[in-house]
């Protein structure tokens, strides 16, 4: 049986009718058309579906949509503001941290959470913060570089 949930997605309130068996990922992609959140494995093992729920990064394929009623969700579509890329987005583009782009949305949100909580992380802390987000293209080198660059520029 469907039930109504109220969620705020990228600052905008939504009322969505969901079945209990629908995941947050399914709702975002299929009901709200926010396809920037990707399904890579559907089992919480790759991080492509990372979104922020009340500010914290989660694998949205392992979150029931009914369970986020009343919560605030940030997806990749909400990261840039007024047509301006977020510094992390800008750094990913400039440093070559994006190749196929399929892990990018989740990676960016995981990185955002890291820098909000640890503005000047060590390289090891960066690696640990994105350890749940798999990237096959880059070998992570330029992703780590990009996050480091943002941390340093913000710190200055």
């Amino acid at each position: 049986m469907k039930r109504l949930i109220n969620i705020v997605v990228n600052g905008e309130p939504h009322e969505v009718a969901v079945n209990p068996e629908q995941t947050l990922l399914e709702i975002l992609r299929e009901e709200l058309g926010l396809t920037g959140t990707k399904k890579g494995c559907d089992q919480g093992e790759c991080g492509a579906c990372t979104v922020l729920v009340d500010g914290k990064p989660v694998s949205s394929c392992l979150v029931l949509a009914v369970s986020v009623n009343g919560k605030s969700i940030a997806t990749i579509e909400g990261l840039s503001q007024n047509g301006r890329l977020h510094p992390l987005q800008e750094a990913f583009v400039q440093h070559g941290a994006i190749q196929c782009g399929f892990c990018t949305p989740g990676m960016l949100l995981a990185a955002k959470y890291l820098l909000e909580n640890r503005p000047l992380p060590s390289e090891q802390e960066i690696k640990e913060a994105i350890a749940g987000n798999i990237c096959r293209c880059t070998g992570y080198v330029k992703i780590i570089e990009a996050i480091t660059a943002v941390a340093h520029s913000t710190a200055q």
């Binding site: 920037g36 399904k39 583009v93 190749q99 990018t104 090891q124 293209c137 330029k142």
Partner: protein, 799 residues
């Protein structure tokens, strides 16, 4: 300072912002009005005869629109290799037999994926389970179950491309019913070579099956327009024209009625070249129902049914002089291509073709046999045969060098080929930076110091911490080479450049962006040649209806083949632009120069015209011609034919990329765990068209190669895949990232655009032996099979 304005620079990629904001549409993101969702029913048995299929209960499920089986489709066959010698052996849906766990049996289209999934459970299939074989060793026994009994009739795709129709049964060459392909070649006199050798070693190596792990799961969206008889497709693809060719033939459609349209591809690594049954089924169901149909595979299906790297067993015998000169090498290998041939016929050719340019070995014999088993199908994967065979060759060479008391790096330097060398098949190395690459990579890991600090060879053999040190470090190196395009359908790339009134340009290319940065790289080539900025270029790509043909992003031909086509198209447009400018300015073309979208008369800077004005002028003066430049380039301009797979004869490619890869590892002698601390790859890609993108390709290859060296492995028992998930298939994560010290060797390939050739594929292949050699350097044990897991290392250490 670079002599170029646009190429060579590490400009940010043009698809970056789209991808960083989640706006980029991948195939899995395509949603069309009225779209239905398909799912595939697959065989749970590795080898079985289908007795009956009852689809009635599935068809009766509300929401199900169609259920199809092999019988509905009829006689349709296709395959990656479809030649008179190797006729296509795959069907979209099985008719008589299933040959591996995951083999496609039926397909459902329904109003939602969930309903389609439920319907699969209602299809009743009765099987007669047959004896099965799971290793080449079992498969080649005379008593083994035969996996493909029938010889297959019909005209092969390659005959349509002009291949000779001559056919003979290759199985007779080896007298193995389950053989699927064989390549054999020799040059020099191998027996004589071994007689000349001072030292001979014979070893066996095994390289594991591995998975591509592109993050985007495979997907297809098909939309058939019954009114016009046209089929639109969005596919997970690496070459839109190859997919169009194979699918239109299988669907019995005129090629011009099938259109592969653009969507981004979320990684490929070779795993999205082949045509897959789910693609055919999506198209077939859409045509049957007159509605769009999407089929997206789940991660387990991607692991199980979209090809893997071939596990290969390699016997290698090498003869060498005291001074380290290799005089003879004899390689025999078996590749397990699974239940269907897949790319079996190609991999046994490429194990030779991708490897023999590295060392100059005067006396050489090679035989590669691909065999059917009841394992999942194997196909191309980044390096396609090279990682496996380079693992064997360079592991063994490291052992030989140590036995002779020589530095492996010196032995490599002594034997590598050089610029100007002509390979036994006739390919000429117009560029080859191997020696420089070796020196660079050696320095990257501090080779001499690294080795001298460490307990060498026999000193530490079997000594788990004899000196008390739990963690021990070592360095290792390996080399590899790679084509830069080859003659494969559609045999050439073409490009088109359209100039606009504001002096900007649109590039039309049939190439497909899958992460490798081809749109940006080609845009830079066009911009450089036209004398405009990358910002002034828009790239329209990946659409068979709009863009000219393209070789596709495999065989590493993107930079060289398509790059040349784009460069020629841009040069053509520039020629036309300068001609009209000369006419307007009333000077000769030779008197003109251009910069920043402005054309000048040499020596008279006041006399000039903007690109915009010249382009507009062309419309009036040239009977409406707005300037469209075209260019094309063959897969290999020096030949009209693809090489013989069986005998490895004919020219292969017009340029080889090379690299040297060195690593420093740390081995935990208590747990057997190996960590790559430093990785240094020096890649000779001729010239980096975009430095950042080239570096990114190398870094991606290194990571993949490191994973395949240490932890990645398709685990099968009786044909069943035990680790079809990112949890259990252990590809590298961020914390595995080593310190990288990469470099590029600019060898300036004369055949390449601005000197560019392959990058993006080769640098997986050297990582396996580099790691194996470094482990040996660190703790004195030799691991003969990949992946080099802690349990293998610990067992070897503890004897």
């Amino acid at each position: 300072m670079s002599k170029y304005a646009v190429v060579g620079e590490g400009l940010p990629r043009i698809d970056g912002p789209e991808k960083a904001t989640g706006q980029a549409k991948f195939t899995v993101d395509i949603k069309l009005p009225g779209m239905l969702y398909g799912k595939i029913l697959r065989s749970p048995y590795p080898h079985a005869r289908i007795i009956s299929i009852d689809t009635s209960a599935a068809e009766a499920l509300p929401g199900v629109k169609a259920v199809i089986t092999g019988k509905d489709i009829g006689e349709v066959r296709y395959a990656f290799v479809d030649t008179p010698r190797y006729p296509a052996d795959e069907r979209p849906l099985a008719i008589d037999k299933v040959r591996y766990i995951g083999d496609e049996v039926a397909a459902v289209a329904a109003v939602s994926e969930a309903v389609a999934e439920e319907a699969l459970g209602l299809i009743k299939v009765e099987y007669e389970v047959l004896p099965a074989v799971f290793t080449p060793e079992e498969a080649i026994k005379p008593t083994a179950a035969v996996i493909h009994e029938n010889s297959l009739e019909g005209t092969s795709a390659w005959e349509e491309w002009g291949a000779a129709g001559r056919s003979h049964d290759y199985r007779a060459e080896v007298d193995i019913d389950n053989a699927s392909a064989r390549s054999a070649i020799s040059f020099g006199d191998v027996e004589e070579g071994f007689r000349q050798a001072d030292h001979i070693r014979e070893d066996s190596f095994d390289a594991a099956a591995t998975a591509h792990c592109a993050l985007e799961p495979h997907a297809a969206v098909a939309s058939y327009d019954p009114v016009n008889g046209k089929l639109d497709l969005w596919l997970s693809t690496m070459g839109i024209f190859l997919k169009r060719f194979v699918l239109s033939k299988a669907l019995k459609m005129p090629i011009s009625k099938v259109r592969v349209r653009h969507s981004y591809v979320g990684g490929a690594f070779g795993g999205k070249i082949d045509v897959f049954p789910y693609e055919f089924c999506a198209a077939y169901l859409s045509m049957k129902l007159g509605r769009p149909v999407k089929i997206e595979l789940d991660r387990e299906e991607v692991f199980t049914t979209t090809r893997q790297r071939h596990p290969i067993s390699i016997k290698i015998k090498t003869g060498i002089k005291k001074d380290g000169t290799i005089v003879a090498q004899d390689i025999k290998l078996y590749a397990d291509n699974g239940g269907y041939r897949g790319s079996g016929a190609i991999v046994v050719f490429l194990c030779h073709g991708f490897s023999f340019p590295v060392y100059n070995i005067p006396n050489y014999r090679y035989e590669g046999i691909a065999v059917y088993t009841n394992n999942p199908i194997r196909g191309p994967q980044r390096g396609h045969g090279a990682p496996q065979v380079r693992f064997a060759i360079d592991s063994q060479l490291d052992m030989i060098a140590r036995e002779l008391g020589l530095d492996p790096v010196e032995v490599m330097l002594k034997n590598v080929r050089h610029k100007g060398d002509v390979l036994p098949n006739g390919d000429k190395l117009n560029s080859c930076g191997l020696s420089d690459a070796i020196r660079g990579a050696a320095q990257g890991v501090n080779w001499t110091v690294g080795r001298s600090q460490l307990n060498k060879g026999e000193d530490c053999a079997k000594g788990s911490g004899r000196d008390g040190a739990r963690f021990r470090r070592g360095v290792g190196m390996s080399l590899c080479s790679m084509f830069s395009g080859a003659m494969y359908y559609p045999f050439a790339s073409a490009a088109m450049i359209k100039l606009h009134d504001d002096g900007s340009a649109t590039l039309f290319t049939g190439s497909q962006e899958l992460g490798q940065g081809i749109y940006t790289t080609l845009g830079q080539v066009a911009a450089e040649e036209l004398g405009i900025g990358l910002d002034d270029i828009r790239v329209v790509a990946g659409d068979t209806e709009i863009t000219p043909i393209d070789l596709g992003s495999f065989l590493s031909g993107g930079a060289l083949v398509t790059g040349n086509a784009v460069k020629l198209a841009a040069a053509d447009a520039r020629r036309q632009l300068l001609e009209v400018a000369a006419e307007i300015l009333e000077v000769k073309v030779e008197d003109l120069n251009y910069r920043n979208k402005q054309i000048f008369v040499k020596g008279n800077l006041d006399k000039s015209i903007s690109y915009a004005k010249a382009i507009q002028g062309s419309v009036f003066r040239k009977n409406g011609n707005p300037i469209i430049g075209t260019g094309s380039y063959k897969g290999n301009p020096e030949t009209d034919r693809y090489p013989s797979l069986a005998k490895a004869k004919g020219l292969f490619t017009s340029a080889y990329g090379f690299c040297a890869q060195a690593v420093e590892v740390e081995v935990d002698t208590l747990t057997g765990k190996v960590k790559v601390l430093k990785a240094s790859t020096f890649h000779d890609c001729g010239f980096p068209l975009n430095k950042t993108i080239v570096e990114g390709q190398v870094e991606g290859c290194v990571s993949m190669g490191m994973g395949q060296a240490l932890s990645e492995e398709i685990v099968l028992e009786k044909g069943q895949l035990f680790n079809a998930s990112f949890l259990n298939y252990r590809l590298p994560i961020a914390t595995d990232t080593p310190e990288t010290k990469d470099g590029l060797v600019d060898s300036l390939e004369p055949n390449g655009p601005f000197g560019a050739k392959e990058v993006g594929e080769g640098a997986v292949a050297g990582m396996l032996a580099a790691v194996a050699n470094a482990v040996n350097d660190a703790v004195g044990v030799r691991i003969y099979s990949t992946p080099i897991t802690p349990d293998k290392v610990l067992s070897a250490l503890q004897g």
